[in-house]
Amino acid sequence: MLFKRSVALLAVLASVHSMAALAASDKLLDKDHEYMAVTNYPNNLHIIDTSTDTLFKTCAMPDDFGPGMLLISPDKSRAYVLNNHYADIYGVELDSCNVVFHAKLAQRSNESARAMFSMAVSPDGKELYSVVNPTEKNQDHYVVGSPRLQVYSTAAGLDAKPLRSYPAPRQTYLMQMADDGTLFIAGADIYKFDVNTGKYDVALPVRNWKLPNYSAPDVLYFWPHQTKNRDFSILYTTAKFQDEKQDMATAEYKYGYFNINLKTNKIEQADFASLTELYFTGLRSPKDPNLMFGVLNRLAKYDIREQKLLQAAELDHTYYCVAFNTEGSKLYLAGTFNEIAIFDPDSLKQIGKIKLPGGDMAISTTQVFIR
């Protein structure tokens, strides 16, 4: 390991003269050091050193970008990236930038199969899950197939085939696995899925919730934040009616969140704000879970219990995805263009900016992790 690292160092030194700006792709990550990963166009996986908030290195990804959604493996050695127009999953070894896992989601030559952000890894890192939406492409017509949960061994290498697969509900998107192996899948409702039997139940009704005097909530969320507190959280919007007459004209529009704690399987649902502006993502502070930070056109901070906007910061352009460093002392705003804005969550003052090589981060998720 040491040898490898010094080789990498040599490689870096050797390249200093010619391409000082570009870090070698095989530059090893430091153990116990905090990094942040994000993808962007044309097809990069960037590793940022959060101690200096500078680009540590860039891994070039194969095939096409899109959506570039990534998860970090539980042992923090790999990034799994849903890419190539939602049709393939790639596992990239972070130390070497080598692609060590590749699953083409379609299972037959005449099938197109795409995962709409449905990707999760088991807590032991041995299995990877994806709900795919298949379509049979026949000679002169298509037939939309039923979605399948495909289970892969993460050791399956570059031509990974599902170990097993099970019928899954339609319209699923994000999913994450709890420490006890329950796979929580968000769709019309949030389901808990047994990845060994294929059996699934509704863990939390969403579209079909029965909250008195609320409209069905609307959810558009495709950022699978991996948080320090192991919270799987999703924002919703809804209309809260005055009374059982359910008059939209007098309803109050609300922002809220669903949260599943992946350590305890505890499920929460709470409104946190009046819906006055849109946020693409929102995360609770790891320091104070009563504080919600939402971002799109502004960065806003809410007191959840009081449902009160505490503060909002103007932004130089839209940002889609919010992430905290592990300590909760810095907020990273990513998505849109190729720059990440850094904010102080206490003051909501901007304290830095990281410019990335390449283009738009689009709807990539920033993941902060300690190697």
Binding site: Y41, D64, G66, Y86, S112, R114, M116, N133, T135, K137, Q139, D140, H141, Y142, V143, V144, R170, Q171, Y173, A188, R207, A216, D218, V219, L220, N297, L315, D316, H317, T318, T336, D360, A362, I363
Partner: protein, 554 residues
Amino acid sequence: MARNVYLPYQMPRGTVAQHKNNYRGGPTPMTTRLRQRVSTLALSMAICAVLQSQAQAAEDGEAILKAKCVGCHIPEEGQALSRISHQRKTPEGWLMSIARMQVMHGLKIEDDDRRTLVKYLADKQGLAPNEADGARYALERRLNNVEDFDEKFTQMCARCHSGARVALQRRPAKEWEHLVNFHLGQWPSLEYQAQSRDRDWLDIALKEMVPELANRYPLDSKAWTDWQQQRPDAAKLAGEWSFSGHVPSKGDVRGVMTATVSDKDAFDVSLKGEYADGTPFNGSGSAILFNGYEWRGNLEVEGVAMRQVLAATAGEIRGRMFETEHDERGLDFVAAKQGTVRLLAVQPEYLKAGSEAELTLVGSGLSGKPSFGEGVEVLTVLEQTSERVRVKVKTASDAPVGIRMVNLGALKGPNLAVYQQISEVKVVPEYSVARVGGNGGSTPKVQGRFEAEAWGKDLAGKAYRIGLVPAKWSVEPFDERAAEDQDVKFAGVMSAEDGVFTPGAAGPNPERKMSTNNAGNLKVIAAVQQDGQTLKGEGQMIVTVQRWNNPPIP
């Protein structure tokens, strides 16, 4: 002779849904390549192409269909081919289907062959005139038309593209079902979008929409069977056509269109006309007739390339002409054939009580004395031909206000409004969309073009339309948000004199808050002077981003 056979559109560039998936609308390298290829095709199509004898076309169409389509499409009983034989569409609809086969399924077909194939299919499996009625605005590129379909259809079918695109097709249930599967298979994000993710989209599409569509837009219809029997010979359209039109910001136009048969279903076309102020409106080009009535012309008028999307039925040709590069610039067009007796228009369409004015009647086979009703006296006949009667009239100050019908000999013609006072000014279109463009991008700016429509009150106090009147034009922020974002400053410039709004340049604007693009939400204000007073009308214009995806049928 070289002949242009074209359809009025840019070639499809993917679909709206595709672009919605592509979050920020940026083209991928693949779509860019396709676009380049597609625009080359469109260009080569527009420049010139020698079409083999149309008489041969049907035979050739069948041969091309066999050569190019069999392989994927499966031969069925009686010369039929799977999928293709079970649909009816407009010429533009067929073109979009074939282009999609090229873009998505690797069909290789020469432009000439594609033209022949479109003609063959549009003739063989088209829509009866009354089946296209009510949705022609889409073919005519009236992109500010606000559709009015029922809520379920709007949400399930017309959320990403026009409802007209659906309404201009005829299929049996199985084919509508294939279409649903194609949509979700091609654009899997479709069932996650707003107004999809709140419901079991696929279930509703298959179980509810398919039967509804098969019922509403069936493959087999009496209208189509009848039309195939009565479809007239195209050669009957040859001759002179007296036309009338109105060009926003320029005024009324009239003249004669001459069509000469150049081949089967093909014409040489010339226009000889003028605006009300005498400015010439002359041009020439060619046209093709699809399915016995779908007239598609390609002309150069006063140096500007223009297209005609017209329907030729019952001795009349009616539709819209528009600039090839800017389909927002165009005119309503109506023409009557020489030999028919028809009164098409009166220009202008109103008189003010207590004034003298010149009126022009446009039509064909015109003869006799015009009469404009009580209180309107014809002072002089300035010009009288079979296509045009131009008169000077005096309107009495006590002439009854309201709408009246023009009479010419035995003809009862268009409506003429007489007014004393304008009581209200409306901006037309009331709601519209302009688009940023240019600035090195592939898409030109789309202008807003407005007119002021005067309304009066008749003796019973009922509102009546007077007509289009001159106005001074301006824009204002539509709401507080627009004011705060300085939309008026950034979104574009309104020409005070003629109501033409030219949007700003495309792309992020570093001068704007958050570097946003030059989008805006504006009030469009028309100020009309009357007796020293100003009457104002107000419309709304959204200035938005480019329409990246601009297929023939929106």
